[in-house]
């Protein structure tokens, strides 16, 4: 019995590998399966994160919520209207960095609403909707640390969450400017919460992440007044919702919804609800850059 499962598993892996390695035939003419699937099942599966407040997280009531989630719910409404469905059930599926791509490409989730930076490397594998949030890498430090910019990190410990774009950007900056940080490399920890704990305990002197994340963590810290976010941006991180590649109709519907939200001012209202000051008191007013970006993506009809 064991072998038959193992053999089938192996066989499936091989089959899958060969089938998927083959070039997509006739992919040009047809649109992807997401819209069709939504119409048939009358269900939209939204992928979310457990702990990326205030963009995508699980509240104390155990429900998915946040800025990205609210935007995705608007896209769900638009899908219901576009497909003329009498009802559309929205299901929330919690994702982890390990499962999000397998589940998106397997069709278990139709759209991922979290806090992911749109990058070229990732675009090889998935599609991003238009940028709905803009942030960038900065440093979180203790107010009395004397650190004002990345150049001040000589001999200091810098911590970052594993695999984020921030750690990469910080490394580039450190190499470029020849800054000698303590230990020779950035300490990479499991997630932002762990990085913050390293800071609280004095193991690290600076923590780099998207500034919105840093503001959020500082606002939740035991003593928010102890912390400040410093430095000029050393990377820009545009966030967008993620959908499977080759689903032009679905992508168009998503982008159109975002455009309509910008034009009607609803998007700004959603922003205000989550960020000014927001449930976690993050108090992160919309930047000029994001305001301009939103105007730019609100394409004419």
């Amino acid at each position: 019995m064991g072998w038959s499962i193992a053999a089938r598993l192996g066989g499936t892996l091989l089959l899958a590998a060969t089938a998927l390695a083959a070039p997509p035939s006739g992919a040009l003419a047809q649109d992807g399966p997401v819209m069709k699937r939504i119409a048939e099942t009358k269900t939209l599966n939204i992928g979310h994160r457990d702990a990326s407040p205030p963009l995508s997280y699980v509240g104390q009531d155990g429900k998915a919520q946040g800025y990205s989630i609210d935007i995705c719910l608007k896209i769900a409404e638009a899908a219901k209207e576009e497909l003329k469905l009498d009802k559309l059930e929205v299901k929330f599926i919690p994702l982890t960095p390990q499962t999000r791509i397998p589940l998106l490409t397997a069709g278990t989730v139709d759209i991922i609403c979290e806090s992911s930076t749109h990058t070229l490397g990732r675009s090889r594998q998935v599609s991003f909707l238009n940028t709905t949030f803009l942030t960038g890498s900065k440093l979180l430090v203790r107010k009395n640390s004397g650190i004002k910019r990345i150049e001040d990190l000589t001999g200091k410990v810098l911590v970052a969450a594993l695999g984020g774009t921030n750690e990469r950007a910080a490394q580039v900056e450190i190499d470029k400017k020849g800054i000698k940080i303590k230990g020779g490399e950035i300490v990479k920890v499991k997630d932002n919460a762990q990085a913050m704990l390293n800071m609280e305990q004095g193991r690290a002197d600076a923590f780099t992440s998207d500034d919105v994340v840093l503001f959020g963590l500082a606002s939740l810290a035991k003593n928010p007044a102890e912390w400040e976010v410093v430095g000029p941006y050393f990377s820009y991180d545009p966030y967008g919702m993620i959908i499977p590649r080759n689903n032009d109709d679905w992508r168009l519907l998503g982008n159109k919804t975002i455009t309509m939200l910008v034009r009607s001012g609803e998007l700004h209202a959603i922003y205000k609800k989550w960020f000014e000051p927001g449930p976690s008191n993050i108090n992160y007013p919309m930047s000029e850059r994001l305001r301009e970006n939103l105007e730019l993506i609100a394409l004419p009809d």
Binding site: A16, A17, L20, A21, G32, P33, P97, Q98, R100, I101, P102, L104, T105, A106, G107, G121, R122, R124, Q125, V126, V157, V159, L162, G163, G164, R168, V187, K188, V189, K190, Q194, L197, N198, Q201, G202, R203, P244, R245, N246, N247
Partner: protein, 241 residues
């Protein structure tokens, strides 16, 4: 899976290949170092639990109950974040600021102490599986209790528990993946990092799986030879002959 784009060559591309190699090296190093704590310590505690001395037994029991009953993930965290806070201030400061390779050493220590509790249980159950008569026979022949352990009970006990000790060694190897929670860049965290950079999830995790399987496969094959050679004559045969 229809829209997944395979991209195996990315694993050989510049930074990613080096990440896998260094992650794999760290995983092996953590496992070997942790085992070199776990095996002697676990053996000592396992033996302590079978002696006639009550205080020794008590210490052994407390050790095993505490270390095996708290999830490794939580222990990792307690060692890294909570213990330095409980030390005298100078020591705590040294651990937090001046100790070299803090994440690596903490994870080795944590994994070693955790696994010792499991090794101790194996050793104890091996010792208890031996009929008491052998112990008494050894004493009757004029051996000291220490000699009875050294020449009679332990050689038999270790041979009985080889399969479960193998499991525990593999456990250390695989559990080393939890070191990523405190910031050690071992195999699983490097796979995760590659996934974050490229979204090539299947390739990254398949490579990690294959590397784990390769090492454990080699260990299992080697231990099976050991098991066969050290089989105790007269006990029920092990596996296919």
């Amino acid at each position: 899976m229809g829209s997944y784009r395979w991209n195996w060559p990315i694993l050989l591309a510049d930074p990613y290949y080096g990440w896998i190699v260094s992650g794999f090296g760290n995983t092996c190093l953590i496992a070997v170092l942790a085992w070199s704590i776990a095996f002697p310590l676990g053996s000592a505690i396992g033996i302590a639990r079978t002696t006639e001395l009550r205080p020794l037994r008590l210490v052994g029991t407390i050790y095993v109950e505490v270390f095996r009953n708290i999830p490794l993930l939580a222990q990792m965290f307690l060692w890294y974040f909570v213990v330095p806070e409980l030390l005298p201030q100078d020591w705590g400061h040294w651990v937090k600021r001046d100790m070299p390779y803090p994440q690596f050493l903490t994870s080795v220590l944590c994994l070693g102490l955790y696994t010792a509790s499991r090794v101790a249980e194996q050793v104890r159950s091996g010792l208890e599986a031996i009929p008491r008569g052998q112990h008494h026979a050894g004493l009757a022949m004029g051996l000291t209790p220490a000699q009875v352990y050294r020449y009679v009970r332990l050689p038999v006990a270790y041979r009985i528990i080889i399969p479960s000790l193998t499991s525990d060694f593999l456990g250390v190897f695989k559990n080393s993946s939890l070191a990523l929670t405190i910031g050690v860049l071992e195999l699983t965290s490097q796979a995760r990092q590659i996934e974050e950079y490229t979204f090539a999830a299947f390739e990254a995790f398949a490579t990690a799986t294959l590397l784990y399987c390769a090492v454990t496969g080699i260990v299992i094959l080697a231990m099976r030879q050991v098991e066969r050679r050290t089989r105790i004559p007269g006990t029920i045969a092990i596996g296919a002959q």
